[in-house]
């Protein structure tokens, strides 16, 4: 049986894929071509069986199709079992709860400066000018490097870590009042530190803590 050029339209006709005029032409053709009609009825039978029994015939194909044709999302989903996904989701939720519970706490904590002379710190520091070592007499004036900006300084003097006196000043030096000078004793261990604040009151620079001893008290 010689192949007919209309044969290639059989499948499209059966699957209703032909345009209206093509369909009419093909229909007229199979009324005239017994070869095409015979082949078409065979194909039609095959197609009917496939449509009717496809779910049992193509079990294997369904399976591979699912695996191969799975979208990225499906692949990700199939990466873990539902139980594992549930566990992962609960863990992630717990972690988030913990993080969010602590965020406000972290925000309220002010930065604390535990400054000792050996400490190396990043950020702005204030250079202390004098006294920076042991002195013979009780110093009257404490001086530090002036910042290029308009800042307010907080001067603190300590005795064995306890605050002896503090003062807020605009200048880069402070004169100890008489009553404070009288508190400074010979051989006592003293230290001093300066912190600088912006006009908004935020801490912008800190000096290191410098220790000194006095040979002779007042």
């Amino acid at each position: 049986m010689k192949d007919c050029k209309y044969e290639e339209l059989i499948d499209q006709y059966l699957l209703n894929k032909l345009a209206e005029n093509q369909k009419d032409r093909f229909e007229e053709h199979y009324f005239n071509c017994s070869s095409c009609f015979e082949k078409m009825t065979e194909r039609d039978e095959l197609l009917r069986v496939i449509k009717k029994k496809g779910h049992t015939i193509f079990k294997e194909e369904f399976l591979t199709e699912e695996i191969r044709g799975a979208s990225l999302a499906e692949r990700i989903l199939s990466f873990l079992t539902p139980k594992q996904w549930a566990f992962a989701a609960v863990s992630a939720a717990l972690i988030l709860v913990v993080i969010f519970a602590f965020i406000p706490y972290f925000k309220t904590i002010q930065p604390t400066f535990q400054i000792v002379s050996e400490e190396t710190r990043s950020g702005k520091t204030i250079e202390l000018i004098s006294p920076v070592m042991d002195v013979n007499v009780v110093p009257t004036e404490f001086k530090w490097a002036k910042s290029d900006k308009e800042l307010e300084y907080k001067f603190s003097i300590y005795n064995n870590g306890n605050v002896l006196w503090t003062a807020k000043i605009k200048e880069n030096f402070v004169v100890l009042p008489e009553e404070i000078r009288s508190l400074i004793k010979a051989q006592g261990k003293y230290s001093w530190q300066v912190k600088a604040f912006s006009s908004q009151g935020t801490l912008v620079a800190v000096s290191s803590k410098v220790y000194f001893r006095v040979a002779k008290s007042e």
Binding site: F31, L46, I50, K52, K53, E60
Partner: protein, 166 residues
Amino acid sequence: MENKKPDVDLEEIFVKYRPVISFRVKKSLGARNPDWEDIVEEVITNAIEKIQKGEFRGESSIGTFIYTITSRRIVDYIRQKGKVLKHAPEPADYPDPQESVENKERVELMAKALRKLKPKYRKVLYLYYYKELSREEVAQKLGISPRRVSERVNYSQKLLKKFLKK
């Protein structure tokens, strides 16, 4: 040329064209349509009457003559039923609910044969007929040429025929 009535074997119309007319009617009206058999009978009767009246003058083939009668009857039927002519009627549903027991057995047998086909053939049938992808789409999916797709479909059909003849 002498204006002579063409020689038409009426028996041929019954035997040869009944399945063709039936196929065309069922495809257009749907196999679920209870009227399809009546329409086929009407078409055959009408064709015989026209031939006997000498309306078939051999200007076209007998196939085209019967095709035209069939198409007109289908159009009339659709018009009578008040359906919109511009749109083709719904294609026949799969499967045919009127199939006989014998036919059901044949379907089972074919399904069994299809299950036994090699995966490369089954895959083509699955994509081409079950999923209704185009020949080119199937070819692309399987990394073969469109021509190879057709070859595999044809070969599957041949194997199936062989199996059914056993």
